[in-house]
Symmetry: C2
Subunit: 199 residues, 2 copies
């Protein structure tokens, strides 16, 4: 009530969301280096200066896309597993797959930036290094139910690696179902009858 400024064309929140959406798509398709402020600006109907008003600098786009967007949607999965008594690794992975299958643009961005950020000089290098470490470390704190003789750490490393590689294949094959592709991987990684009752 009694807003001192005249109504803008869109609310600041809408602008931010539009910038995020355009950024996620552009980072996925062109990477950080391949993305220009002009591209984002054109996409959301602003000028470069207009976009910079929201994000400060090009690196601000990274923060917006990774910390503020990708991370927020991902934390919950592992949090849900902690509450279970003796959870199944296969079930966690199926949950991850279900979440990612519904957000291809974010997975695309993650995959592209993840490779680009192998370079220690990349502005997102530390983010991805820390994230990779935390993913396995967090999973190792859970008392998974697995068949006798299974090395949980090796299994987690193998499974998460497989998922990263599979997502690349998924993004390259238009129309394919990530969950179905992962089901085949699960069959290979956790073969029956050894994993009967454990997946």
């Amino acid at each position: 009530m009694n807003d001192p400024t005249p109504s803008p064309a869109a609310s600041a929140d809408d602008r931010r969301n539009a910038i995020i959406e355009a950024t996620v798509e552009s980072f996925g398709r062109l990477g950080y280096y391949g993305t220009s402020l002009q591209r984002i600006a054109t996409e959301v109907g602003l000028t470069k200066a207009g976009v910079l008003h929201y994000v400060g600098s090009k690196e601000g786009l990274l923060d917006l896309a990774l910390t503020e967007t990708y991370d927020q949607q991902t934390v919950d999965i592992m949090a849900a597993m902690v509450t279970e008594e003796r959870p199944l690794i296969a079930e966690m992975w199926r949950k991850v797959v279900a979440v990612n299958a519904a957000r291809p643009a974010l997975v695309h961005m993650f995959s592209t930036l993840s490779a680009e950020a192998l370079d220690p000089a990349h502005p997102a290098h530390d983010y991805f290094a820390r994230r990779e470490h935390d993913t396995v470390a967090n999973a190792l704190n859970i008392n998974w139910r697995v068949p006798d003789g299974v090395n949980v750490e090796h299994l987690l490393q193998a499974g998460f690696s497989m998922m990263d590689g599979l997502q690349l294949r998924w993004l390259r094959s238009p129309g394919r179902d990530l969950a179905a592709m992962w089901a085949d991987c699960e069959d290979a990684l956790m073969p029956l009858p050894l994993w009967e009752g454990y997946r």
Copy 2:
């Protein structure tokens, strides 16, 4: 003898090799979009125009690095397996790992371009799409020795995906041994005693 042109600073072949080396490193660290002709030129001691004399255009750098360099070193592995009577999948993968462990710069380039080229508009998109398909298709033509009940196609998809993801982790962890990391993955993907005698 009686060379009509004055001796250049380096032979044309040396120039080409230097350009290839600089290109592979730059594509790996910065991707195709992040790489500039000026960067390559500086690295090999030429001007932009000098580099263009060798490669024609920026896309020529891609050809040089992928078709002419990466591919040449990779074909032999599968060719060696075809000669065997009933080869082991695990042995093929160990050979791939041994080759890749010795060429981190090429693996880095492959990983970065592979993600960047998910975009259908990327100049290397078709190369990677075809390559991914051919890798599995070629492997499926071989009469592998596997335990009863193993689905070879699922296993190959799972294993190659795992290798792609593992290589990203390897490139992010300075000093780690790819072969050792893969050995852990093999334990998870081909667990004993089921795979006793088959790996």
